[in-house]
Amino acid sequence: MKYSYNWLKWYIPDAPEPEKLADIFTYHLAEVENLEKLPDGDTVFDIKILPNRAHDLLSHQGLARELSSLLNIAFVDPTPKYKIPESKPSDLKIEIESEKCRRYSGRIIRNVKVGPSPEWVVKHLESIGQRSINNMVDAANLVMFDCGQPTHIFDLDKVQEKLVIRQAKEGEELTTLDNKECKFKSADMVIADAERALAVAGIKGGKIAEVDNNTKNIILEVANFDPTAVRKTAQSLNIFTDARKRFENDLSPELVSYAMRELSALILEMCPEAIFEDVVDVYPKKQEQQKLKFRTEKISKVLGLEVSVEEIKDILKRYNFSYTEKGGEFEIEVPHMRLDLNIEEDMAEEIGRVIGYDKLKGVVSHVDFKPKQNELYTKIVWARNKLKEEGYSESMTTSFANKGEVEVMASASDKNFLRTNLTDGLKESIKLNQTNAPLLGLEKIKVFEIGTIFKKSGEEMHIAYGDKKEIKEITLDEYTSQMEKNSVALPASGLRHEQNFSPSASPVFKMWSLFPFIARDVAVWVSDTVESNQVLKVIKENAGDMVVRGPELFDEFKKDGKVSYAFRIVFQSYDRTLTDTEINEVMNKISEKIKANGWEVR
């Protein structure tokens, strides 16, 4: 979610500078995906709130409260700022028929005027990438991004008789505010009037009771729904909204009262002539006060860091947790919004992240355990070493295929099956590498792959190896049947000691050019007193800067006191396709220099 720095400062005027705040988020709370400076001087943080804190942190107030506790700075309570409207008794009828609705609060407001929002509202919404629509929609959005509670507004005059929160009828239909046609199943929950479904509960409002420019009287909805029910319905209708995101992660029903007050006050500010009726609050089962016990000793043991009772008390006080403590054992009253705190280990995380994980000293541990040798790995290493010695190079190809016996659902690619063999992939690999044989310095391409294939009967570990003429594929078990029992898996011939596997920072991989290469051979007749290196040197010095491989001596033979050396050179550019003409020029130059040495080009 995006958070405006200036908005946060409403609540925590003593907040540190944005850059410092970003570091605090990173090391004590959540990942900052982006930090953007706006032209008006505001800074916007895009913070990745994970599911365990979606209950309380997907809002400016929630984040500000967290920061106030974390940094031990003042939190300015916004409640007194909102004028509570005077209200009259209401005859709004709300009926909760589905147990998936945990609380439903409604309020009728008459004589509103739909129009543009005050500038500060527009500015707040725009700072976090939201568009201002009209004062009613904006008020609802502002409340959600401010305190985390999704709300909805109906046009009272389009609602027949009452609001009913019920399961949908099988096949019942609704058009959403953004003109999406929904067809419900009975597992879906809707907000309806006496006749029709008006909204998809907790997800999206419908067209029927939409607030428009002529709307005079409205009903505010501030409610709480079961997270799983919301998630299932949203998934089956394929609707993603900010409301869904909050409800499916579970919100405290206790948040409803505050949000209703904030939404009412905003509408009063926007429409001073409005006439408010009393809130009708249906709340069948109040959220229970959770208590959580934890031991100081356990916290220290999980973290591997000595934490004192006093340190924990300090944190609990900063976070306004009511607690009792006796001999290092705490019992806290978990705040309603902190649905993530259920077990002792949750407190270890809470205390660990507040203190900071940088305080942990890394300790390499050994346990009293006798590892057994892994049979599959031993076989793989044995087979791989054998094939490597025989000149086969290792290839890895995709596990996905166009056809097969095991099909995956809804793949992001066009290959929807799992491979039934390694051979098909290896054939492609050989084809590709054969084209590149001069680049690889190989005359003949020999490859192998060890990997899983998938049949109806289950998966099997296969091994395939071969060249362009023939590929053999058998199970790894068959291939290793000649392996001696008790063979020890030496991790691939002691790689650690091969110089290339130094853990040093210098990269040794060189990305290849994506342009075609040109391979040329040159054979030179010289007196047999001339070493091949002397010839190579002359070729190398005159081959230009497009050489990616060679010159490499690939053939030599002697006859009548003379010797023939044949070299191969591979040319390739990293930024263009080389032409034959320019390479001919290079080769001509090489020939001239060879002749200038008194040698002969064959």
Binding site: L360, V367, S411, L440, A492, P503, M511
Partner: protein, 234 residues
């Protein structure tokens, strides 16, 4: 250019071998497991309930006409299976390491591929802590990327660990996200028949391809699975 040359080995294999050796030296046992995994081990055992937003954290390939089967999205399940068996065999405390192919159903680009290799590990005992996790992983990344590497923990969330952390390594002056880790959630230990009151278990898991890309400067993860021998340079 003779035909008798020995072949070349894929860089991910070299890295996996090195990782196995490093953890073997710390007393970890190498374990392997199936690529087609049951939903139970891939999700439920790891405290990722059905119909919970946490299941969205990984895009999963579901198998057609085979209910309850998925292409594994991690190799943490392999560690969980091994711990479960070790518990039954009375082999506690214990430590396991696994490198294996995993799958994610997502659009591919230079840093995302539908298949990649993941390294997962766990160590269980009566006094295993987050500090041990830091020690073990710091040792590992120094072996992989060099002695000058630093490791730091940042807060995170995974359903199967509590506390959960994101592991970052500083390589060539930059902090890079390397893996997810934490202490096994008590529900995970319960699910595999171990007593969370008695045991604490560190868990970690992350992409091997990513380490290879960072270590050797390989620019595109997709290069690893194209059967291109130009990759075997190491």
């Amino acid at each position: 250019m003779s035909d008798n040359k020995t072949g070349t080995i894929h860089p991910l294999t070299l890295l996996a071998d090195e990782a196995y050796q490093t953890f073997s030296e710390l007393g970890f046992e190498i374990v392997t497991g199936p690529e087609l995994e049951s939903e139970w081990y891939n999700f439920d055992v790891l405290n990722v309930p059905k119909d919970h937003p946490a299941r969205d954290m990984q895009d999963t390939f579901v198998i057609k006409n085979e209910k309850e089967k998925v292409l594994r999205t991690h190799t943490t399940a392999v560690i969980a299976r091994a711990m479960e068996q070790a518990g039954k065999d009375g082999r506690m405390p214990a430590a396991f390491i696994s490198v294996g192919k995993v799958f994610r159903n997502e659009a591919t680009d230079f840093s995302h591929e539908m298949q990649f290799y993941q390294i997962d590990g766990g160590m269980i005992g009566e006094n295993i802590s987050l500090a041990n996790l830091k020690g073990v992983l710091t040792h590992f990344y120094k072996k992989m990327l060099g002695d000058e590497v630093e490791v730091e923990f940042r807060p995170s969330f995974f359903p199967f660990t509590e506390p959960s952390i994101e592991v970052f390594a500083k390589f060539n002056g930059k902090w890079l996200e390397m893996m997810g880790a934490g202490m096994a959630h008590p529900n995970v230990l319960k699910n595999i028949g171990l007593d969370p009151k008695k045991y604490q278990c560190l868990l970690f898991g992350g992409g091997l391809d990513r380490i290879a890309m960072i270590k050797w400067g390989v620019p595109d993860v997709r290069l690893f699975y194209q059967g291109d021998l130009r990759l075997n340079q190491i």
